[in-house]
Amino acid sequence: MNAIMSRWLDDSRVMGIVFLAPATLYIVLLVGLPFITALLFSVSTATVGDASFNYVGLRNFAHVWQTPAFRDALVNTFAFTVVAQIITIVLANILAQLLTAPLPPRRSARIGMWIARMLLILPWATPLSLSVVGWLWMFDSKYSPIDYILREMALLGPDTVWGPANNLIWLGKPLLAKASIIFVHVWRMTPLATVILMAGLSSIPTDLLDQAEVDGSRFFRTLFQVKLPLVMPIMLISLLFGFIFTFGDLTVVYILTRGGPITHTLTLPMYSFLVGIDGGNLAQGAAVSLFIFPVLLLVAVVLLRTASRAEIR
């Protein structure tokens, strides 16, 4: 009996199931189940105090949809994500070109590059909530070091372009607050996008680049006609990560503005938190966060498809 049992266990298909079962079970319980719970909450009246299930159909979604704050959150989430991704991918391409450029064969150049890489990776390596605290100080309404530098450059203060006030009050004005949030997202995502692009650039066969050079192709022509098309699938992967991390992010807005002034920087995750956890209305909170799902699914499918098609070609 024991021998039969161990023979049966030793089959590769059985082993596959045995090995895959714990992780699968875990993911079903901690991703699948909560997701279904979110769906159920969104069609019920669940609150923190009361988890009894009263089916109310799509009333939560309808109610949320009519709330002006929700509309602001929806528009802002899209605007922040799209604008931040466009800027990030441009900067990351420039940075990746800089960092993969041939270095002079000196030891100081290699050490310099190591330090540069360390500094450039910091925004992505540091826990976001901690580095955003740093930005909170950078954007401080009275003591902002950015304002000081602008004053020194005679751009801010009495009789200047952005004057007459001595401070810009970054997080207190709608447009500046939005710009600050986008800036922090770009600051944080550019390192990741850059290293992903660099991995893509380094996987380009060198004989292709040599061939381009032999054919008399100059820097920009090689860049746009050889390198970028070849890096495209990996660039889409980095866009995918950037889009999803920015779209679902709560940290930046939570620490910098909490959605303010009024609702000018409110995002879906922030609104979902305010309604569901702070306000205790689990049902509507879940309804708000579910708006994130179809968008992310769509982006993931489109980008992965495009990436795999580009690979085949």
């Binding site: 590769s12 298909r13 596959g16 045995v18 895959l20 714990p22 992780a23 993911i27 901690l30 991703v31 189940l33 909560p34 719970t37 979110a38 800089l98 960092l99 041939p102 270095l103 002079p104 064969p105 540069a116 890489r117 360390m118 500094l119 990776i121 910091l122 390596a125 826990p127 976001l128 901690l130 580095s131 605290v133 740093g134 100080w137 950078m138 003591y143 070091p145 001595n166 990741l192 992903i196 650039l201 380094s202 699938p233 990996i234 980095s238 995918l240 999803i244 940290t251 620490i255 569901g276 956890i277 909170g285 966060s289 579910l290 994130i292 799902f293 992310l296 993931a300 498809r305 795999s308």
Partner: protein, 293 residues
């Protein structure tokens, strides 16, 4: 980085042009470095400033008129819960690393070797699960955690964090396992090991670099995570670094800026160093196979 080749291509063209190009290159790189590091540089300056130096309107925020002081670091370590945040984060991190390895090592091996064609699809599914953001699940999970009586307990985080780290780690380890030649495992089977022994004694030791990457990735992930920690834990003694620093070191409208920024810097430096060492491997996890879908 492997890509930093030192071909003599850079030294071409007339000398003036070369110098100009070199200067432009250095300026651009320096500019990017400065912007990337700016909050950390400012943190470094502020940490040692006295209150008089820090809160002087209009004056340069980078100047030291008074002697630099260690008072705020002393304050951070002795009068705040900072060390307790560090301890909570470390404990959570270690526990999550263990759970993640136990779940993802066998799963990755199964997906890489044992399950054939649908294993590949399951692998892509894993990748998609990794993309599910915590913002989508925090409300139902909050309810589940309350129901389980795990609110304000680090166990809540140890239970939930692997839902982010397991998919990514499985994905990363799959790549490592696929690169191990099947002949090695077959040789072990011929030698009389069963498949489980072969996995444990032959495959795992070879996958050590992958395991190390998973440990680094998972640990830093638990340091980074914000939403679950914010929602599940509101007792200050159970807070972790990512939520403890921005919530507990700010009292109402009063910001204790020097300890606040010092605490952020003290985490940023070691994590930055470790990331720099493991960067290439982590990037592999982000790109490997993802383009071959």
């Amino acid at each position: 980085m492997a890509t930093l080749t030192t071909t003599p291509n850079a030294v071409q063209g007339p000398r003036l042009l070369r110098v100009l190009r070199g200067t432009l290159y250095t300026t651009l790189v320096l500019f990017f470095c400065l912007v990337a590091a700016s909050p950390f540089l400012v943190m470094g300056v502020v940490t040692f400033q006295t209150d008089q130096d820090l809160y002087k309107r209009g004056a340069s925020p980078f100047d030291y008129e008074d002697m630099p002081t260690l008072e705020h670091l002393d304050n951070l370590f002795n009068d705040t819960r900072y060390l307790s945040f560090v301890r909570n984060s470390t404990l959570t991190g270690i526990a999550v690393v263990v759970v993640t390895l136990v779940l993802s090592l066998p799963a990755a091996w199964a997906l890489a070797r044992l399950t054939g064609r649908w294993g590949e699809r399951a692998g892509i599914l894993m990748f998609i699960v990794y993309l599910v953001p915590p913002t989508l699940l925090f409300i139902p999970l909050f309810r589940i955690i309350v129901q389980l009586g795990l609110r304000d307990s680090l166990l809540s985080l140890i239970l939930v964090y692997p839902s982010i780290s397991v998919p990514f780690s499985t994905w990363l380890l799959m790549g490592f396992f696929k690169s191990i030649p099947p002949e090695l495992e077959e040789a072990a089977l011929v030698d009389g090991f069963n498949r489980y022994e072969a996995f444990w004694r032959v495959v795992l030791p070879l996958a050590r670099p992958g395991v190390i990457s998973v440990v680094v990735f998972t640990f830093t992930l638990t340091l980074h995570e914000f939403i679950y920690s914010l929602v599940f834990i509101s007792a200050s003694e159970a807070r972790t670094l990512s939520t403890g620093v921005p919530t507990e070191l700010i009292r109402g409208d009063v910001f204790f800026w020097q300890p606040l920024l010092a605490s952020a810097l003290l985490v940023a430096i070691p994590v930055g160093l470790v990331y720099n060492l493991f960067l290439d491997r982590l990037v592999q996890g982000f790109t490997l196979g993802a383009v071959k879908g």
